[in-house]
């Protein structure tokens, strides 16, 4: 069995979703397995049309900071979150959606990007993933 990375994606902030997808793609590229557990604000990014909607965790300034960051990222040729997500799935990455968050926030399966989600689960599913992981992060 190959080594594995697990990340709890709690934040929905744009920059933190970037960190998540960059680390996860790095792990897959270097021969590890990767599982992302989307919960709370992170899960909102899996809503249809939601992936790029997160605000900046610092200096968002009602969106001015975010658009400045976007401009700089474009200039540096940084890939979009959509592309990183596509690569993540293509390389065999797994996505778990937190069912409790869905219940609390009134999110239905049809509101989510079902094409991206591998499975729906609760803490037990996450623990089963994490206990066999060599890298485990909370973002």
């Amino acid at each position: 069995m190959s080594e594995k990375l697990t990340i709890v994606v709690h934040s929905g902030d744009m920059d933190k979703i970037y960190s998540t997808l960059i680390i996860a793609n790095g792990a897959l590229s270097m021969g590890m397995e990767a599982s992302l557990y989307f919960t709370f604000w992170g899960l909102q990014r899996l809503q249809k049309g939601g992936l790029e909607k997160g605000s900046l965790s610092k200096m968002h300034m009602l969106g001015i900071g975010k658009s400045m960051m976007k401009q700089r990222m474009n200039k540096a040729n940084v890939a979009s979150l959509e592309r990183l997500m596509k690569d993540f799935k293509e390389l065999g990455g797994k996505i778990i959606a937190c069912e409790m968050t869905m219940e609390i926030m009134g999110i239905k399966k049809e509101d989510l990007r079902e094409d991206l989600i591998t499975e729906y689960g609760a803490v037990g599913t996450y623990i089963q993933e994490a206990r066999e992981s060599t890298i485990n992060l909370f973002i």
Partner: protein
């Protein structure tokens, strides 16, 4: 045995790694993969990935800020 070329010039983290990984997945055992790029950290990190994947690193060279890494699956 075929040769697969991967162009990562102008691409930044983590795209060169991802593109290399995808090419390795598509390659058959024995195939040669030639990756070209300009992102400096990747010049160091692609060989790390090659090692982690248990593949053979044939060559790493650089000329005028553009590197070429040759891998054998």
């Amino acid at each position: 045995m075929s040769k697969i070329k991967v162009d990562c010039c102008g691409e930044t983290c983590p795209i060169p790694l991802i593109k290399t990984r995808k090419a390795i997945r598509e390659a058959s055992p024995g195939d040669i993969i030639e990756v070209r790029g300009t992102h400096q950290a990747s010049k160091k990190e692609i060989p790390m990935a090659v090692k982690a994947l248990g593949l053979k690193l044939i060559d790493v060279k650089e000329e005028g800020g553009e590197w070429t890494i040759i891998i054998q699956r």
